[in-house]
């Protein structure tokens, strides 16, 4: 039960929704009211405020950025696990990377590394899954340099991604051989990814809808942006799509979540049908 002092009226909720949308591009439907209320209550009390109004006033004033960051951390959904929607990693290895290598001249003749981005990367399972699949199964990994980047709006999950220590639920789909080869037991049923892999992944705190901030990401050959655009309204989705496009090389490939479709968001990508499903390509002529 949420105390009356921190509870939101309908008007509070609408004002909050508008504020959060303008800051992050994430919009909550009225049906998410209970989810939002509970997490706001947590933020109000954790920050030492007695009322929603006092907390919201301080949040909007903007002189305590930690308030907004904690709110973002509370309201973003971060649950994931290793090798989730693995068929897309099959597509990466079997179809996309061979095309990338061919387009860039092939191993030994490429200028710069193959660059792969996972956005949002949450607690790191996705970029590290990509790393594991490449190390364990991609025959060209010893012939080319591969740079993997992860990005997320949530600073707390990025800290956990950097630490790369996981429990059974996250690791349930990781083969035993990979567990022994790439992970170290750290106690309490948790396993930490080997430092040689976690140190190779570059992490960024970034909002996919923030065009100025997204300028640091560029020249990617492959982008995984799965199960995030479904949280955005059409305008924010378009903005996110434009920012992803800017982060990609001409001819680069974009993976979305299995229930997402770029055709409903923006026409700027070309859908490519692969045996493993649809992937989207930044047109090669568009430079």
């Amino acid at each position: 039960m949420i105390p009356a002092a921190t509870a939101l009226t309908e008007t509070d909720f609408e004002r909050f929704r508008e504020y959060f949308y303008r800051r992050t591009g994430i919009q909550f439907a009225p049906s998410k009211r209970y989810f939002v209320d509970k997490r706001i209550d947590h933020c109000v009390r954790a920050a030492g405020f007695e009322t929603f109004a006092g907390w919201f006033g301080a949040l909007r004033l903007g002189d305590r950025p930690a308030l907004l960051q904690e709110l973002i951390n509370q309201l973003t959904v971060n649950e994931t696990y290793f090798l989730r929607e693995d068929y897309q990693f099959d597509a990466l290895l079997n179809a996309v990377l061979p095309r990338v290598l061919a387009a860039r001249g092939g191993p030994g003749r490429m200028a710069g590394p193959v660059k792969i981005l996972s956005l949002p990367c949450s607690t790191g399972e996705e970029p590290y899954s990509i790393a594991l699949r490449l190390l364990a199964e991609w025959p060209h990994i010893d012939l080319v340099d591969v740079e993997i980047h992860g990005g997320d709006i949530d600073s707390e999950v990025l800290s956990r991604a950097a630490h790369a220590s996981y429990g059974e639920r996250s690791l349930q789909r990781v083969p035993k051989l990979w567990m022994s080869r790439y992970f170290n037991a750290v106690g309490a049923g948790r396993y930490q990814l080997d430092s040689s892999i976690r140190d190779a992944v570059t992490l960024h705190q970034i909002n996919i809808c923030d065009t100025a901030a997204m300028r640091v990401l560029h020249e990617f050959d492959v982008v995984f942006c799965r199960n995030v655009l479904i949280y955005f309204d059409e305008l924010s989705s378009r903005r996110a799509a434009e920012n992803l496009y800017s982060a990609m090389r001409p001819g680069a490939y974009l993976f979305l979540g299995h229930s997402e479709s770029m055709s409903r968001i923006s026409p700027i990508f070309k859908p490519i049908r692969l045996p493993e499903g649809i992937v989207y390509q930044r047109p090669t002529g568009a430079k």
Binding site: T211, V216, R238, Y245, P267, A286
Partner: protein
């Protein structure tokens, strides 16, 4: 070879003023124009410059970036400036304009009554496409008006398509009425039969 960490942190990117970004909208390099369009997000003074270029920009990716930036404003001026392109002979432009207008629920509703009465049936077709995605409580009512009253079968068929995701038993009479209004139009009959199936 193998996994490598990015060697150096990214250098600080220069901040470009809105005035320079507006000038950059005419850069010969399409990627520079696109970056300028996206960089002008939230700059009210850039609205006219962007609207001026929507109709002349030839690269769809640049035009889409301009539309994404313009749509954020969701003002009467932007809505009116984009609505003129619903009549364009360029299919890509009128579709892109319709997609942008469909993301502007604050300003577009005021335009809808006039668009529903536009003498050009192609504009009314595009209006139905806008209404298909416009998040506004009256969108379905306006589509029903087109289905019930519009004199052109293409407009009616497009409005029926737009209504499909929200179609319920209460719409049966509306759709059957459309078939009765155009008894010699096999495409409209097929559209309604498919919708009611």
């Amino acid at each position: 070879m193998g996994l490598v960490r990015k060697a150096e942190p990214e250098p600080e990117l220069p901040v470009v003023s809105p005035e320079d970004l507006i000038r950059q909208l005419d850069d010969p390099d399409r990627e520079a124009r696109r970056a300028a369009a996206l960089g002008l997000e939230g700059v009210a003074d850039a609205v006219e410059a962007l609207l001026d270029r929507i109709g002349v920009e030839q690269v769809p990716a640049v035009r889409d970036a301009m539309l994404t930036t313009l749509a954020v404003h969701d003002t009467d001026r932007v809505a009116a400036g984009l609505a003129v392109h619903l009549a364009s002979d360029d299919a890509g432009l009128r579709t892109a304009a319709a997609e942008a207008l469909a993301t502007m629920p604050i300003s577009v509703p005021a335009l809808v009554p006039r668009l529903l009465e536009d003498p050009d049936p192609d504009v009314r077709v595009m209006t139905a496409i806008v209404l298909a995605d416009l998040p506004h409580p009256e969108s379905l009512t306006w589509l029903a008006v087109l289905i019930k009253d519009d004199p052109h079968p293409n407009v009616v068929a497009t409005a029926i398509d737009a209504l499909l995701p929200s179609l319920g038993p209460e719409h049966r009479e509306l759709l059957e009425g459309a078939v009765r209004r155009f008894p010699d139009d096999p495409f409209l009959r097929f559209t309604v039969e498919a919708a009611l199936r």
